[in-house]
């Protein structure tokens, strides 16, 4: 049965509410549970999930607790939800007793030297809050999405006039003087400065550089829209300017999908006149031929390999050749594991990783269906139903509204693995496992549990290929996460690009 309870005039952030819901669904007898602030979008999501909210007079300042469970326990579950809201079970007593100010002014009275605001509240409020932070002279990292393009442009123009950075909106990752903000890996400090319009693109290059012994000092996120014509690359260009001026940064790396032509031109011209070595990792870009000290790359691992060569003073072309040799070797590896019949299914938490995997796979297998396809002709009509060779980006809005980001919770993706495996035509399942600050404490465990179930049901008919994007110093410890996946028979690759290639080569 269903029970809905409305608590008037309160506010809880979506992550706290989703964690409470997660805890409730672990209880025996609970079929489904959801907690949401009663915004228009959330009401739609809850209704689509099968909760009947008809006849309720709901306002955005109301909290809705909705539970489907066995009749005998349902009252207890509502009470449990309230208990978890006031005393979250995942928080230690020490954390629960900390005092947090209720306003920006309160925060600034506690930390008057603050220089940056990290904003991750609902998009409908985030733009105004960011403006207030700019008015207080703070740089802004805007993790929130669903901020309008007009607001983004307004914020960035005002920030530029005041010499302040606006990283985002929809900026998941940044690093300032080695400190990771949002989703970020615990990589070493070094002579590289990055500007990235791609969150997991930044993470992958950061991690791949660390694997090559190269550190990053700053990585300025911009949000994906920054390099579109409408925004004009305001943050990207400000970031590049700051990195050109910074004597500790010896090599600049730009990562993202190819910018709009006008923006690309401005970035290139500024880097040429700046005369500092730079690597432009435009994923899937068309620029060919290096113009030292500026180098062009089309994939994330290539961007890291070329950057490492530039930092070390070795030949970038040799780095590319070495990488190609590694990719050739994957053919032998594929023969070793034995080829599979059927389709490739990719299930991703990182948007840029999914995009790069599609670029790699489309060259080897032909068109790839996706909810975020390279070519709109191959857009999935229903993101929950795969077609042919297919890759799904679980970080897209459709999956994150009312749910934790897949990098914070892989359980929804894990369920999809089980569903995909039920199809006889599926031969290879490809996935990422992104580590770092902000991410789930053990994503590999969540995924491994589903993979074990699949193995029990279908044996070796399906092979799993994975990539763990992380380093040893990450809170999850990369080697531990790798071992969890290897123990359930996952074939792990050393980069996202390699995982995608291997997955394709494993298909007959």
């Amino acid at each position: 049965m269903q029970r809905v309870e409305v608590v008037r005039g309160v506010y809880y952030d979506s992550v706290s509410l989703m964690r409470v819901a997660q805890e409730l669904t672990k209880i025996d007898g609970v079929i489904d549970a959801t907690l949401n602030m009663a915004t228009e979008a959330n009401i739609k999501i809850m209704s689509a999930a099968g909760f009947d909210l008809s006849g309720l007079d709901l306002r955005p300042s109301d909290l809705v607790i909705a539970v489907k469970a066995n009749e005998e326990i349902i009252d207890g579950i509502i009470a449990k939800a309230k208990e978890y809201l006031s005393n979250p079970p995942w928080k230690t007593t020490e954390i629960s007793q900390q005092y947090f100010p209720k306003s920006l002014n309160g925060a600034l009275s506690m930390l008057p030297e603050a220089n940056l605001a990290l904003i991750s509240i609902a998009g409908q409020y985030a733009g105004d809050e960011a403006m207030e932070c700019l008015n207080k002279g703070l740089h802004v990292m805007l993790y929130s999405d669903n901020v309008s393009l007009e607001k983004e442009i307004e914020l960035k123009k005002i920030a530029k006039e005041r010499g302040l950075l606006v990283m985002g909106p929809d900026c998941g990752t940044a690093v300032v003087k080695g400190i990771g903000l949002g989703f970020a890996n615990a990589c070493p400090l070094g002579p590289v400065g990055m500007v990235a319009a791609a969150g997991t693109g930044l993470q992958e290059v950061h991690v791949q550089l660390a694997h090559r012994g190269i550190g990053v000092l700053h990585a300025i996120g911009t949000g994906g829209r920054d390099v579109k014509e409408a925004v004009g690359g305001i943050t990207s260009l400000m970031g590049i300017e700051a990195l050109l001026e910074n004597d500790d940064v010896k090599v600049i790396v730009m990562v993202g999908k190819p910018p709009a032509p006008e923006v690309e031109k401005k970035i290139f011209q500024r880097l040429v006149s700046g005369n500092k070595p730079a690597v432009l990792g435009y994923i899937g870009g068309e620029l060919e031929g290096d113009r030292p000290p500026i180098y062009f790359c089309k994939e994330l691992e290539e961007t890291a390999a070329v950057t490492a060569a530039v930092v070390n003073g070795t030949d970038p072309d040799l780095a590319r050749k070495d990488l190609n040799l590694k990719y050739e070797h994957l053919k032998e590896l594929a023969s070793h594991f034995g080829k599979r019949k059927g389709y490739l299914r990719g299930l991703y938490s990182g948007g840029t990783l999914c995009y790069e995997a599609q670029l790699v796979a489309s060259k080897l297998l032909g068109p790839i269906y996706s909810n975020a396809p390279l070519d709109e002709r191959y857009k999935l009509p229903d993101s929950l139903k795969s077609i042919g060779n297919c890759m799904v980006d679980y970080g897209e809005d459709e999956f994150t509204q009312g749910r934790l980001h897949p990098m914070m919770d892989s359980s929804f993706r894990a369920k999809r693995m089980i569903e995909e495996a039920k199809e006889n035509e599926v031969g290879v399942i490809l996935f990422d496992c992104v580590l770092g600050y902000g991410c789930h404490e053990s994503p590999a465990e969540q995924l491994a549990s589903a993979i074990s179930q699949v193995k029990r049901e279908v044996g070796d008919r399906i092979i799993f290929v994975g990539y763990v994007c992380g380093v040893e110093a990450d809170p999850q410890i990369a080697s531990s996460q790798r071992k969890i996946l290897e123990d359930v028979g996952v074939v792990l690759a050393d980069s996202n690009a390699q995982a995608a290639r291997l997955a394709c080569l494993l298909l007959q």
Binding site: S103, N115, G180, H218
Partner: protein, 59 residues
């Protein structure tokens, strides 16, 4: 503060939103304060009224 100073001094952060980010910054020994942020009732009511007006519903 100019961008060059932000990069030179490192981030000193006001975290508004996901509390996990505050704890992760603490783990990195960054200076950070978390705001227990809530939209003001005024803002919520105003948004609600604007939405109703936009939808042509009751005022």
């Amino acid at each position: 503060m100019a961008i060059k100073d932000l990069l030179a001094n490192g981030p000193i952060v006001v975290n508004i939103g996901i509390e996990q980010f505050y704890h992760d910054l603490k783990k990195q020994d960054a200076k950070v304060v978390h705001v227990d942020w809530r939209p003001s009732a005024l803002k919520s009511d105003l948004l609600s009224k604007l939405r109703k007006l936009r939808e042509g519903g009751a005022n």
